[in-house]
């Protein structure tokens, strides 16, 4: 007796490939969730957060030392007051903006280059022969291992950090786009060409929109990796930014500051990932899975 099954079917027949939202394994769980009254269901996401806060409070308030030591870990109250102080100071926003600017620059650059190079490698044998070997060698290198080279290469650490972020975010998009080129139905391009489309028209009106689902799944992976790298790079070589600030707080024995920094990173990462997801859904509204939403 799940209400999900009684969703009205649209008058026009939906395509057969529409995935069913309730799979065998998740059915009892969804059933249970659906039975919970609607307003309560809205509050469900708050439960794990509240539990985590409570556990954190209990562990730190009682200075628990059981192999792992919570005696020096700041309590939720310490962090809250540290956060409050920071939110009122201008410096904090400066750090946040610095990190966001680096993410935006590196991520945008990676997105554009990833799409262009991915399409070229996926569609042209010559491009694949010329670019693929370099890609495959560079791909396993953790971006953070480039810090020394970035310091040597770029006049300012700002540019180095953006470069490292770019390097990390570049590969997920590129690889996703290369695979999308192979998986795309050839009939789309064939049909366009018999209607008089030029190679450029096919690229612009068929290949690019057809690759958008892959581009966005690559971008959401990239966004995660970009944050990891921007924060790590800031910790090592930055003079500004949330990563730098978190590390500075640690050096100054300001442990509540460290946790405030971590939470800030979490919120920023969550927000940017949500944004990418949101834009992706809008762009790819035609996908069968999106129609059901």
């Amino acid at each position: 007796m799940t209400t999900t099954e009684s969703r009205p079917v649209p008058a026009v027949v939906a395509p057969p490939q529409t995935p069913t939202r309730t799979t065998q394994s998740s059915r009892p769980i969804t059933g249970a969730l659906v039975r919970v009254a609607r307003p309560l269901r809205r509050l469900l996401p708050a439960v794990p957060v509240a539990v985590a806060l409570l556990v954190w409070y209990l562990l730190t308030a009682h200075h628990v030392v059981a192999w792992v030591r919570f005696d020096k870990i700041p309590s939720p109250a310490d962090v809250a007051s540290s956060l409050w102080v920071e939110l009122k100071s201008g410096i904090f926003y400066g750090h946040v903006l610095a990190s966001l600017r680096r993410i935006l620059a590196g991520f945008t650059l990676a997105g554009v280059c990833g799409v262009v190079i991915g399409i070229a490698v996926g569609r042209s044998r010559v491009a694949a022969a010329l670019i693929r070997p370099l890609l495959e060698v560079a791909r396993p290198i953790p971006a953070i291992a480039l810090v020394p080279i970035a310091i040597l290469l770029f006049p300012t650490s700002e540019q180095g950090i953006v470069f490292i972020t770019f390097f990390a975010a570049f590969f997920p998009v590129t690889v996703a786009v290369i695979h999308a080129m192979k998986a795309m139905p050839t009939v789309w391009a064939d049909a366009a060409r018999t209607l008089g489309a030029s190679g450029r028209d096919v690229l612009w009106h068929v290949v690019l929109p057809g690759a958008m689902p892959a581009i966005f799944s690559g971008l959401s992976v990239s966004m995660g990796v970009a944050w990891i790298c921007v924060i790590s790079a800031e910790m090592i070589s930055g003079q500004f930014g949330v990563g730098y600030w978190t590390w500075m707080s640690y050096s100054l024995l300001d442990y509540p500051g460290v946790v405030t920094g971590m939470l800030t990173i979490g919120v920023l990462g969550f927000g940017t990932a949500w944004l990418v997801e949101r834009i992706g859904r809008r762009v790819n509204h035609w996908l069968p899975g999106e129609a059901a939403r």
Partner: protein, 254 residues
């Protein structure tokens, strides 16, 4: 250029001169055929015999290995709107609504932006899809999607319309509707139609001439002229049944 979607020109003459198309390890088709302007020719043969290969070569999507294919005396070298094609599978762009799919074809054939919308709506009305203009292909039934494909192909004002088993995936009722629709569209536009199918009844219902093909490599066994073509009551006449059995017998020998 007028906003009216009706073809200014009628169909083109199509000549296949000992055209051979290779695919993989050897020839898949080798045919010599002359199609008159405005004629409906059906290529009929067993599944996988290489009839689609002939069509794709005509569309310029496959290279011609030997011989020549001409549309109105001009050899075919690359794909273009002179020979637009209706495919069996979903060849619509799934991110564009029915109207925007038709508009895409219009923009490719150089119709100005301001005229595309009304022309597209008129074409969709012609194929019986009034009111479905803003539906995405994924929200339309198989028959409706093929109607959109037909409208989109008409938008390119093709002088030759190539159709690759366009109704093969539809149920019997929808298929009969689509055959009637095709005939009425053809009567308005009078373009040349080269139609591929493995369905003998379909061939007899729409063709002026039926080209019977051998299995791979596809060569012509025989060309059957249909007297009194596209006669709606023909289906129930004894002659139709006789023709049908004759064709089936020829195909099973070939």
């Amino acid at each position: 250029m007028t906003a009216a979607p009706v073809c200014g020109q009628s169909g083109a003459r199509v000549k296949l001169r000992h055209m051979r198309v290779d695919y993989g390890d050897g020839p898949t088709a080798h045919v010599d055929l002359d199609v008159a302007p405005g004629e409906v020719v059906v290529l009929l043969g067993p599944s996988g015999c290489g009839k689609s290969t002939i069509l794709r070569a005509l569309a310029g999507l496959l290279p011609i290995a030997a011989g020549q294919a001409e549309v109105d005396g001009m050899p075919i070298r690359k794909p273009g709107p002179q020979c637009a094609m209706v495919f069996q599978e979903d060849a619509l762009l799934p991110w564009r609504s029915a109207r925007r799919n038709v508009e895409f074809a219009l923009s490719m054939s150089g119709v100005r932006r301001g005229e595309r919308r009304t022309t597209a709506l008129e074409l969709l009305r012609q194929v019986g899809l009034e009111g479905f203009a803003d539906h995405l292909p994924g929200r339309l039934s198989g028959g409706m999607r093929q109607r959109v494909q037909l409208a989109r192909t008409l938008a390119a004002k093709p002088r030759v319309m190539l159709m690759d088993e366009p109704f093969g995936a539809l149920d019997a009722q929808t298929r009969a509707d689509m055959q009637r629709l095709l005939i009425s569209v053809w009567e308005q536009h009078r373009m040349t139609v080269v139609f591929v199918t493995h369905d003998v009844d379909e061939a007899l219902l729409i063709a002026d001439r039926i080209v019977l093909l051998t299995p791979r490599p596809a060569t012509i066994i025989r060309i059957v002229e249909v007297d009194n073509p596209r006669n709606p009551s023909a289906r129930f006449e004894a002659e139709f049944v006789g023709r049908r059995n004759e064709i089936l017998a020829t195909l099973s020998e070939g």
